[in-house]
Amino acid sequence: MSLPNISRVSASGLLRSSCDLRWLLRSVAPLAAPRRALTHMGYRRPGQPREDRPPWWRVKFDLAKGLKGMKRHFKLLKEEFFAPFVGPMGKPIIEHMLEQNQVLWEFRGPHSLQEWTISCDREIGGKSEIYLKVGRNNESCLLYGTLCSDPPKDGETRYSGYCTMRSKQPLASFDRKKYHDWSSFNTLHLRVRGDGRPWMINIVPETYYTHQKDDMYSYFLYTRGGPYWQDVKIPFSKFFLAHRGRIQDDQHPVWLDKINSIGFTLGDKADGPFQLEIDFIGVCKDYAHTEDFAYEKYKRNPEV
């Protein structure tokens, strides 16, 4: 894929642009995969031209689309209003109490891919590729691509080589943020079929008020290369806290009541093609698993 032409910006232009709020916008090379929404400040590759158009020029005004959107949002609002009459979160209380398993994402057709977004280091100028499609017979999803660890030649990026798939933030009516509440469960259950590569499962909770937006809880997913499916059950007590990829000293178990997204990342520095097939992702309550947290919590002032 060719990169856009890099235009030289004059010194006066740089000075002007440094005072301009348009530096918040970034221009990236188009990917084969759907782009992530710009919820956080993005990375602009050095030398890439800045986006000239203000945000309001980039919106396509369409009355029919707007009306359709309003209808959808009001329908969601109506469902949210009447859901408590059935029970908490629209489910009867007896279901909340008795459920031991809940399938969150089941890949059974193209519509199931809408809730996921993929990304790779191509956004920062790398050479990896990632694609997501529905598996055979609409029974799974296939995440595949090529990993390449060559860093982009921009003079500042030193490491590269990652591919990731992440669930989108669930949204309520009028695009309000909604969260997954997995507090009734203690284990993550996946049915996957991999190619022997080690993946990292990342759980991202709500981090707006803690100002730690790069906090995530991670654990490993080792896949077998065989033709047989793999049932992976990972207790949530095993997930450790990392910030921007760095494991923190002050560890604590993940709070499951406000989860924004879950993701799978490949970054094993082994260049070449990869494949991961996922049947479903769910959570379950394993009554035999009584561990609160698998790691030692860092105590700054230990009692002697």
Partner: protein, 348 residues
């Protein structure tokens, strides 16, 4: 937390509320409330987990906003009236501002949104302090100002009862349910405050007794989710009997003590010829009763879907003192026959 620091914070909490109780000047009252806020912040954030930090941040923002509004209203009142006395608020603008600031402080609807989120991030002990002790100083100030027009209190009260009931419908987290319960009970207190302040005092005393016993029960069984209530029978069987009674008392069912304040409030509202208001309040509290019943059902009438023989825990002696729980539970369940005695003690 180091015991010395912990003691200092607890003493500061007591100091703040006492300072507000003892003050007649707006500055001193405001200072007492600020000391309260600042003392509970480290208690909330003592666990360095994101949810606790989130709760602390939200609590701080809300309380700071309310304190700033309160100070502004107090200074405006002093500017207009020429004096700093808390009880003298003849101007509607300043008394309304003060009322709204204090309503935000205690979490009355429509300024209640912070309460469930904050409670969810705290441990049960800090949540108990937030639900009970932190309400005393602002309620005292609300009691002092006594606005000329009680409509604002009626509006806040009724809205809180409805919102407190409706919000609890959708919850499975116990702390959020207790937050909405707190909002609903505060609604009852505010509703009657302008007509009969001693009844509001009675309501808050009974509410503190009931909430303390409920929080203590949950602390003993370490439950924070409605699912884990169903395993209480295996941990402490006696709580399986007493906690539903506490919950029904919170719901205001006779012959439990929680019926007492609701009965008296409805009687007083009827005497004041506010029958429609009394009817609406009584009907709105049915929402709250529904989720209390749901908790009672989960605790007493359900079994968890696991093999009981494999999960019975050891019944060890409780590590912490259960005497306060015993006393408050007994009061919550058995205090209703004492109503005539309590009424005679009330300064009507």
């Amino acid at each position: 937390m180091a015991p010395l620091i912990y003691s200092a914070l607890i003493i500061s909490l007591g100091l703040g509320t006492t300072m507000t109780f003892a003050s007649t000047h707006w500055y001193l009252a405001w200072m007492g409330i600020e000391i309260n806020t600042l003392a509970i912040i480290p208690l909330m954030a003592q666990n360095h987990i994101p949810r606790a930090i989130e709760a602390t941040t939200k609590y701080f923002f809300v309380q700071a906003t309310a304190s700033a509004t309160l100070l502004f209203a107090g200074i405006s009142n002093a500017f207009l009236t020429g004096q700093w006395d808390i009880t003298y608020t003849p101007y509607t603008l300043t008394s309304t501002l003060i009322t709204l600031a204090l309503a935000m402080k205690i979490g009355l609807a429509p300024l209640h949104s912070w309460m469930p989120e904050v409670m969810q991030g705290l441990n049960l002990l800090t949540g108990l302090i937030l639900s009970t002790w932190q309400k005393l100083a602002p309620l005292y100030l609300i009691y002092q100002i006594q606005p000329n027009n009680p409509n604002i209190f009626i509006a806040l009260g009724l809205m809180s009862i409805i919102v407190g009931g409706w919000g609890g419908f959708n919850q499975v987290q116990l702390r959020k349910i207790l937050a909405y319960s707190s909002i609903a009970h505060l609604g009852w207190m505010i509703l009657i405050l302008s007509f009969s302040p001693p009844l509001a005092l009675l309501t808050i005393i009974i509410y503190i007794l009931m909430t303390f016993s409920l929080f203590s029960s949950f602390m003993l069984t370490r439950t924070t989710h409605i699912n884990s209530l169903s395993t209480t029978w295996a941990k402490i069987p006696i709580l399986t009997i007493s906690t539903p009674l506490i919950l029904l008392s919170l719901g205001g069912l006779p012959p439990l003590a929680g019926f007492m304040p609701k009965w008296m409030i409805l009687q007083e509202l009827t005497k004041q010829s506010l029958c429609p208001l009394a009817t609406m309040a009584a009907l709105s509290s049915l929402f709250s009763l529904y989720f209390y019943l749901r908790l009672s059902y989960a605790m007493t009438l359900t079994m968890p879907p696991n093999n009981p023989a494999g999960t019975l825990p050891w019944r060890l002696n409780p590590q912490h003192n259960t005497l306060p729980l015993a006393l408050t539970t007994t009061s919550t369940i058995c205090l209703l026959p004492m109503t005539p005695a309590i009424m005679s003690l009330m300064p009507f």
